[in-house]
Symmetry: C2
Subunit: 254 residues, 2 copies
């Protein structure tokens, strides 16, 4: 080998070579969702959870290796990863969380290269939108539902251009009518939900219907406060529901 | 009411009165395990996970309210709680973690009143033993398997005397042959496992067979390192297996 001109091998190829040895002979899982969308996880697949504080969930920024408890935070990313590792132990999947509190769609775009594309995920899950709503309502930004939609579309197109084989998962933004979330939020979140659904469909992404799932879960025995205390962040019960809804939507549930 | 002599009402009674209102009409779950042991969770039931660093899993000590992500740490206590909250939403269970790193059976005894009995758990799960083994092998204590067994027996008898209705769950201590865990550990952990099983049976406790479950899980495709990197602490995959094994053993799995 010419040391001055080493052959170009991507991190993914190097990683997959190792993974292929570790799980030789193990077939990928191919799950079929209720809506016909297929999610295939290959041995050694990298899964990335991206988003705002709901995804972040207290993760430690200095723990960026895959499948690390503290690096995954204590929310739906951790619970989902735990379920995936338990359901598909022979696949040796590699899960990461790169959610950051307060992020709106423009914040994701600003850090997308290093915090998403460089990780070369085989499955990329995104949950963003509630801060776009909040910043608009509070006057903290001049963003609109149109700029959210166009920003989200650009992000997915950029992702598809860089990672043509990556499975995209778009999660429905959601709120609860409690805490700081009042009536004025509802038409805004509904418009942002619809925008996220449009870009998801255009990109051929899996759709995870969180607002719908939470609306169904709110009952007399389990009112809003069981799922969220502040209207934006889920309780642990809410994160557990998110993990189950995600696994159902992707067809990766047990 | 005489303010100077208020009627004596325990915290549990106060709490249960509230829980009864919140979940009026919801029947308790009664699950039957494969071994005939029944676990019943009543509405508002308090569940407590006690033990050492495996239970602790990075929890924050200033977050002691029930079902708090950070108060539960990022290990099997969190994953199990999430599963319980998702499976039995109408029961409104209240889960706590009071594991502390480095604890042996004598450390639990020293803090049992405030960190276990005072919480009045309806279900109390204990995992302790690996530090007893470690301290014995390293000469850090003069503990023996006999003192572990008698200490554990005393702890359960004391618990039964204070909380006659509490369901006890005793988790099998375990190690993995990797990291700092060498051959000399195996006869010791085996003796401690057997001792824990004896006191569990005497106390009528549910037994969670962790060492057995991990031994079964270790395969060519998923060697020891998938489950533990240091021989003592599980990986996230290991914690996920622990949560599933606990739910199966108690009969509380979905």
């Amino acid at each position: 080998m010419d040391a001055a001109n080493p052959p170009t091998v991507s991190r993914r190829e190097v990683f997959r070579a190792g993974a292929a040895i570790a799980v030789a002979g193990v077939a990928a899982t191919k799950a079929q969702t209720a809506h016909g969308a297929a999610v295939s996880l290959s041995p050694g697949a990298t899964v990335l959870f991206q988003g705002d504080s709901i995804t972040y969930a207290g993760r430690l920024f200095n723990k960026q290796i895959a499948n690390d408890f503290q690096g995954l935070g204590c929310g739906y990313a951790l619970i989902t990863t735990a379920q995936l590792m338990d359901t598909y132990p022979t696949l040796r999947i590699q899960c990461h969380n790169r959610g950051i509190s307060g992020n709106a769609i423009s914040d994701l775009a600003n850090r997308w290269q290093e915090d998403a594309l460089d990780l070369e995920p085989d499955l990329l899950s995104i949950l963003v939108g509630v801060n776009d709503v909040w910043y608009k309502l509070s006057g903290k930004s001049d963003g609109t539902v149109d700029s959210y939609e166009s920003g989200y579309r650009e992000l997915l197109e950029r992702t598809r251009a860089a990672l043509s084989e990556t499975t995209l998962v778009v999660c429905e933004p959601f709120v609860f009518r409690t805490g700081s979330v009042g009536d004025s939020w509802m038409p805004e979140i509904n418009a942002h939900r619809a925008a996220a659904k449009r870009v998801a469909d255009e990109a051929g992404a899996i759709w995870v219907p969180y607002q719908t799932a939470f609306n169904d879960a709110i009952t007399e025995a389990n009112p809003v406060e069981y799922w969220s205390s502040d209207g934006v962040h889920p309780t642990l019960a809410g994160h557990a529901l998110m993990a189950r809804t995600w696994l159902d939507a992707t067809g990766l549930a047990k």
